[in-house]
Amino acid sequence: MNAVITVTGKDTVGIIAKVSSECFKYNANILDITQKVFGGMFVMTMLISVDELNIKFADFVDIMNDLAKKEHLVIHTMHESIFDAMHNI
């Protein structure tokens, strides 16, 4: 099962590093990343595999939410299935 992490917020140094290091810590394999900066606004979409997570997915969501609060970012961590359901027949 894959999950999608989206990150938006004011661009600063090290956002990808911080998100990826949490992924590494909890054994989420990064499958793909797209990232852009529009006029100082950072936008990233990351696809990760959560099959080998060393914690529950719900706990991983909480950890990413905590990171969002700490770094003043908006982070959404959601199962890929919701996007598949909505956009693919």
């Binding site: 989206t6 359901a85 909505m86 956009h87």
Partner: protein
């Protein structure tokens, strides 16, 4: 990888446009709880509900977290209590059914759900003893409980309209308004009078678990008026394009419902019943069905053109939603509850939206005259006649219609009733004061309508 713009579109729908799953409702059959001893029957009911639904709220919260989509309500519907109380009621039509409502309340508290529906009776053709007993118990039962919802089906296309039941419901609603007068007659917000009631509706206050349903089922109600409105803001085309845009949006919304229903069914080990395609508004800004109609080009909801716009909306929602779900049911369509929709509230306050226009709108949309406050001194017969009118629209057009009206005790036109939360607030609306008393007092049944020669 998924297209980035699609990912952001989904997240925007959830975070900016109020897309949510309105309710995951577990339907539970109570037939196995029947006993002629009320106490024993109630104990069985409590045990069965709390066992079947013990993980409902936790499962809902877990899905919410995994998928990142809010599930606003977790609810329970049960077999109409008039059927379950029949053995205990025996031949006594004054039998007090309140202990059953109190049991439902206790079970709802234990399970942590915010509403439990099924304090209901189906009397479209006539009353069984327990049906009469249940209807007589509604005012005290709903006044004594907080989260129990009640519904009575008084008419169907095949049976016609039971006018004795219609007369009884006018009185019942007035009594309930009086008993809950300290809270703007809020009891009436928990009571719906139906024609052609669906047996798998997940939405309150009209949810119950019909006799044709399985032992236990999961039904899901979606929402998303804000998403439809936002999609229409970007549509400058003609009404064919408007309909296409609504269809595509409804498809996406319903796919969410289908996904959540499948996951809830799997987690709880309970069969999936249906997804209800309804567009259910809330009083929050940006979550209004009225604002969709206005986005189509009406100055205000309630103007001429409102019925046509609503017909387009309702039809497109169904067409888009049907393909997105394997099983569709419930009320499926756009809801127009006045107090629960910011656009309806302001249209009613400005005088653009009247009860007569709302009645016309109910001919083309889901359900009916919903969450409408009328003066507290409105006679019983007028409430009954309003129910009869609404039932006639449903019966003749082979559709579900309903009345959830609040004769707000001590209030008059120009006042406002406020219930808070999802139930919102409503201006007290003017209702015709010409008397239908003789018509209502005749009683009897309005025969089932002919189904050919449709003109």
């Amino acid at each position: 990888m998924l297209n980035e713009s699609k990912i952001l579109e989904t997240i925007n729908m959830i975070t900016q446009e109020h897309l949510d799953i309105r309710t995951v409702t577990m339907g539970i059959s109570l037939h196995s709880c029947v006993d002629s001893d009320t106490k024993k029957c109630c104990a069985r009911i409590y045990d069965k509900i709390t066992k079947k639904a013990e993980n409902l709220v936790a499962a809902g919260e877990s899905i919410e977290k995994e998928l990142g989509i809010p599930i606003i309500n977790k609810r329970i519907s049960v077999t109409p209590i008039s059927l379950i109380a029949a053995a205990a009621a025996g031949d006594d039509e004054n039998f007090d059914c309140s202990p059953f409502a109190e049991t439902l309340q206790k079970a709802a508290d234990t399970c942590g759900v915010n509403f439990i529906g099924g304090f209901s009776a189906l009397v479209q053709k006539g009353f069984a003893v327990s049906d009469k007993a249940l209807i007589k118990s509604i005012p005290s039962a709903l006044a004594a409980t907080k989260n129990v919802c009640s519904s009575v089906n008084v008419a169907s296309t095949k049976a016609g309209i039971n006018m004795n039941a219609v007369a009884m419901m006018g009185k019942t609603i007035k009594q309930l308004a009086y008993l809950t007068r300290e809270n703007d007659s809020i009891g009436c917000a928990k009571l719906v009078v139906f024609a052609n009631v669906p047996e798998d509706n997940p939405f309150m206050a009209g949810a119950f678990h019909g006799s044709g349903e399985g032992e236990c089922m999961i039904n899901v109600g979606v929402s998303g008026p804000g998403v439809v409105k936002r999609a229409l803001e970007k549509c400058d085309g003609d009404l064919s394009e408007v309909a296409e845009t609504i269809k595509k949006t409804a498809f996406k919304i319903t796919r969410m419902g289908q996904l959540v229903a499948a996951q809830a069914s799997k987690k709880l080990g309970v069969p999936f019943g249906i997804v209800d395609l309804s567009l259910a508004p809330t009083p929050a800004i940006g979550d209004s069905v009225a604002h969709i109609l206005e986005e189509m080009g009406l100055e205000s909801c309630g103007s001429c053109g409102t019925t046509a716009a609503l017909a387009l909306l309702n039809d497109a929602v169904k067409k888009g939603g049907v393909m997105a779900s394997s099983h569709v049911g419930g009320l499926s369509g756009a809801f127009i509850p006045v107090s629960e929709d910011a656009g309806m509230i302001s249209a009613a306050k400005s005088g653009a939206l009247t009860i007569e226009k709302l009645e016309a709108m109910t001919a083309v949309c889901s359900v009916g005259l919903d969450m409408i406050a009328v003066p507290g001194d409105t006679p019983d017969e007028v409430i009954s006649a309003l129910i009869a009118d609404e039932a006639a629209i449903g019966v003749v057009n082979s559709k579900t219609t309903a009345v959830r009206v609040i004769p707000a005790y001590g209030k008059t036109v120009g006042d406002t009733v406020s219930f808070g939360g999802l139930l919102g607030e409503a201006p007290v609306m003017k209702i015709s004061s010409f008397s239908p008393a003789k018509f209502i007092s005749r009683g009897g049944r309005i025969p089932a309508p002919i189904q050919s020669l449709k003109n």
